[in-house]
Symmetry: D2
Subunit: 416 residues, 4 copies
């Protein structure tokens, strides 16, 4: 693998996650840090011939106008992350990312996100959806050809979009074929665009022959029409919504209650944090998508619906530190009520960024193995995994990854 | 199964767990409660033809002189467990247990436990080990024959013994054959007995042809010599130390940190509770056995040794409510230190008792399937499972149980 | 004091707090329990000649049709409170309360509360406000005269009302004199009544010559017009909103942060519980009154406004157990961000009921001392104390009570 | 005040607290940070004419051989404290401190501390106590005269010493007069020295005419003999053991339980941290002094002795971040058991350092007001305040400070 270079195209290229990906990748290339937090760096996945850090090249779409260095400095000072001299050392590499960032789109991102759009994307506000797709696609293709990249993986790490209602009288997106959807797109204006921005990016990626990973709860490629397109183009697409903190805990703890027949009466989860994602989720419309993504798995794992409550609140001084407090009230033998509480204090971007790198490496590896469509072995990374056919228990999902790796390992090289 | 009656012989027959087993079984027989907390009652194990509640009959050994009703009343008033009128309804059934309780032994139980011994066991203080084994065995055999029981499962639910040092110049217990051990026993007095009380009970059980389950961290049958004896007698034996609370959480959470390559720097666990078990563990010698049992699995699951600390403290007013506070300090991407804390507030006897019933049912079922020796499918029930050949991850252990059940289910009857 | 009998008239006579007052008072009269939780029973208030338990007699208004015994049984079984045989012993006394319960009013209680109204109050739905006041007053007077009570204290322990908007063009309630308000009442119908139900009860109480205590965040007597009336009638009135749990903690902890110059950046509080009060507060309109009452004191104590968030959520299985999780993020020396979290697990009615008894005793004692208007020494009992002239720091508020008691104690009898 | 310069002589001059004092003072002089965390900077103490930051000059005794810059760098990297460029800016000022650091003494510091002693103090290991006192005194006097300081305040911020047993047959230290103690010192060798190191430093300070503040649980000047000496020399001395975290919380919360007559059954506190203080306290002998200091106040405030447990554990990866988890189990009305838990996550040195600066300013101000002996108004700063005549409730203690300040303020200048 070592001579080939692989592109990582980040939608939301100057957000907290993308910035951390950039800082982290630069640090990994220079071996300034160990590989903690990276699933793909575990012994059990050695021998898979995953793409090395040195072969990854970053670029992306963004609606704001800023620089990676500026965003990294804010994260560093507000959230006290990144070792002391790290930012100085990686400055040059961050500038390389900046050189490969292109304007994204504001179409159907919703009011709260649109407010953050800089002059360049504002100027494109009336661009027709087909023109937007063509432009976004050209950006990805130019990135690949100008830098001589073997392949590109597009990752959506932008803010959560609001849900998009189906206009009265129209067929729901979930029921349309690619022919129907592309016809509708061809006739639509920015104002009447039938799909959210994340789907426009996904179409551009797939048409450019890139794989597509959706790390957010936005729709992205999670439509039958896009799956159809992806299979036609022989690319991989996967998502939705990286599982980094509270929901990871739910996916780990709920199976325990189920296995022990402890009856969960209520599961209450409160989340506070103060990053850009939090600011966007403070809009109740954007939040709706997220809460749904965090909540459904309890019922699926437990087999019954406990009382649930999820709040997500923007508390500015928390910066990138997401604190979740969960209160689980359960009933055991002879109707005895008991309680488990946990407090998770994690730094959001630092939890997410390594998973983005893992997803790029595993997806690229699956492509080399000839896979296309939805790689189900990546389910454990997502809150609401596309194409999942195991229950959303973390252990069962992770088994899929381990078994896939075992099958992919050359004979006699298993490291487990 | 329904005509046959199965005996459950509880060592520690008037302790908190045994008392809860008695109350709970009586309630289950009368269908006064649902089956929450019982693993064996899950849909996935239906169709296995497990022994029904109505077929189970209780008896046991005990060193104190009290009654099940008195112990149940204390648990009820101190710990506010057992529904309101439940104790009145089950009074008769508790008396049936009392009628089948026989004096245990104080040999090698240690000073702290010995203090609780009543006149009957005090009078037997000088009994030679071979005489003790014979007496205990006869009690079990008489229980079986007088009540016409098809089979008996002995379960150790007594207080944790202190570790027993190997006298200088003697071969460690772990290295002796059954021939060597039984010869040593034949020559020893109560004062020079080479094995702890739990092992005397285990020998008696196995020689009586009963299966043996060790729900405590005491040695019990966890010796090569006893495994040899068990296989010779064609019985099952399994243990050690029921996994009900904080350690269950460790077995569930540690695999998550491992799977995500999050580096656990320290895992600190503080446990407070106020029941008899707590009083006994307040003696540092008895506590040593327990702490060891709660701590080793982190290293085994993580593959490296984090800083660990486990305290277990007797706080009388907590009664049977065990509260554990765990603080897990871990390092993620780019050396970012994060924290997970949990507080577990569980009622100890109420968590343990249903597992005792599960172990009886699964063990009895394995016996009917012709198994002997250590049933590895029961690993998920124990902190330090005997004969384990999977890592102590709860998910992997539980898989063994599910696969065993699947294999045992009649074709076409799988309920999963 | 001992020959005289004092009436306690509870508005919300069959609610959780009133029921607990009834059970508790009966138990205190029989000396079945100690005086834990009762402020007025502390050594420092001995010698004040407070009214003894045996002299208190209960009655009240209620909108539902139930019995004290039925409500006590629900509390007992759902929330596992009240010792085992307590309810049997106090049954007779609870029946005495039932005999003195009269229908309340649904005027301006809001839709959520109105739904709980029984046939008797539904039948009175069109009663004019002046008729309602007259009826409620007659109930209190009849209670006093028929039972030969020296004096009556009315306590509002009913559910929280929604705020009542001032109709366009009308003078806000806060600016009206008693003459203006009583004129408006005389002309209004149930539908156009200018005051909430709690104020109708307060007027009835004051006109009956009873003292009035408002344990809820509802308006009650907290209007200049009612203060005017109370002083004219020479009675005491005091409130609002008993301070039992999370807000008590705020009133205790915020002064610490202020005294140490630790800068509170954010204070987030999440409350879950499952009693009737929770069900009513689940209506966002009713909740508004409550959240306001829980939040303002931080700014007053700290002298600046931190980011604050208070949620109150109805989680049915929690029953009367209110769990509050507070996360306080503060900045110390050299901009160092630190955190304090607490979890309060208290039983709401059991925390409130003794304070109701305390307020009755202290109010009655103040009356004997010749006080009228708002007794400021009772500030420490309330979240938003009426007439407060000290900052809402618990310590400073409690000092007022101690100093008042010291002044009231006969010379040489101080017990402190 | 502004022309005069005041010396701050730190015993433990290169420890975490002293290092933070040095960094913080340098930052305050340059106005690089606000005054958060500093009690003396509150509005309520303005107008007192406290010594300004620019007038304070640092020096001290130390047993290790290191530099302030090196210690600050360790704190910064391990505990992620101190803003980013702060250490560069204050480097010069830290060097000024280094120039004024002199070797301390190892006499009676105990084995665990002695291990950290550098060559200079090791070489002085046999120095007779009177010689040690004379040397330490000369260091303080030279500091004052060479730098032209108006006055010096000595502050003990060194590690906690083990308790010193009274040799059989000798009079306890608490019962000796200064004449007796100084006679015993004159005859003793380093090996037979009757007092701990902290007392040697205290004697040197007092004899040098400096005020003495003991921020640790070590004995220091807390002996009748030293009080006698201090009054003779007309200096102030005060301590013991700065109240920064868990004990501050106890002093704030316990009065709430007392005021509400909520019966505290048990109060369990677990503390983990990883700084030098933690390493020293990991020695059970040194820990004994500390635990005693943290525990007694509950009984004093509550008026009865609940079950208490305090653990202090060294967990290296926690660095300077002390996390305390407290579990308070209390009984309210009708025997209802309830729970309060809190988790305090504070940075130890950053909490302590500003209090050291406060104590210097308030002590120096008291001296200017002509006070000598123990300034009781400083009680709120200490876990076990010397000469305290109010109960150890934080509110009552803080009142003393506010009243003292009010009395000291020039007429008409009160800022409150």
């Amino acid at each position: 693998m070592s001579q080939q270079r692989i592109g990582v195209w980040l939608v939301g290229a100057h957000g907290g996650i993308a910035t951390t990906v950039a800082v982290g990748l630069a640090a990994l290339k220079r071996e300034l840090v160990d590989e903690a937090g990276l699933v793909s760096a575990l012994d059990r996945f050695r021998g898979l011939d995953l793409v090395p850090w040195s072969s990854l090249v970053l670029g992306g779409h963004e609606i704001r106008e800023t620089t990676a260095a500026a965003e990294a400095a804010v994260l560093h000072s507000k959230s006290r992350v990144f070792g002391d001299d790290l930012l100085d050392v990686v400055e040059e590499e961050l500038a390389l990312l900046d050189a490969e960032v292109r304007p994204g789109t504001l179409t159907n991102v919703g009011k709260t996100i649109a407010k953050f759009g800089g002059p360049k994307v504002q100027a494109l506000a009336d661009e027709a959806p087909v023109a937007t797709i063509a432009r976004l696609r050209k950006d990805i293709e130019a990135f690949q050809s100008s830098l001589g990249l073997t392949h590109v993986v597009v990752v959506n790490v932008s803010s959560t979009e609001p849900p998009l209602a189906t206009p009265a009288g129209e067929k729901p997106l979930q029921e349309r074929t690619w022919a129907e959807l592309s016809a509708a797109l061809a006739q639509s204006t920015a104002a009447s665009c039938p799909v959210p921005a994340s789907t426009l990016y996904a179409i551009a990626a797939i048409e450019a022959g890139a794989d597509y990973v959706n790390f957010t709860p936005s729709v992205g490629s999670d439509l039958p029409a896009l799956d159809e397109l992806a299979r036609a183009k022989q690319v991989l697409h996967v998502g939705r919504d990286g599982k980094t903190g509270e929901t990871l805990m739910k996916a780990v703890l709920a199976p325990m209650f189920a296995a022990r027949n402890l009856n969960v009466m209520s599961w209450v989860g409160h989340n506070i944090f103060g990053n850009m994602d939090g600011k966007v989720l403070d809009d109740p419309i954007n939040k709706a998508n997220k809460v749904r993504s965090k909540d459904h798995l309890l019922t699926e794992i437990l087999g019954y619906k406990p009382t649930t409550l999820v709040t997500i609140e923007y508390i500015e001084d928390m910066a990138d530190w997401k604190t979740a407090w969960d209160h689980i009230h359960f009933k055991g033998f002879l109707d005895t009520k008991m309680t488990l509480q946990f407090t998770w204090q994690g730094c959001d971007s630092l939890l997410a960024a390594p998973l983005v790198l893992d997803l790029v490496r595993f997806t690229e590896r699956a492509r080399r193995a000839g896979e296309c469509g939805v790689p189900k072995q990546l389910s454990s990374f997502f809150k609401s995994p596309m194409g999942a056919d195991v229950p959303p228990e973390f252990g069962k999902q992770y088994d899929l990854l381990e078994k896939w790796a075992e099958a992919a390992l050359p004979q006699g090289k298993s490291q487990k």
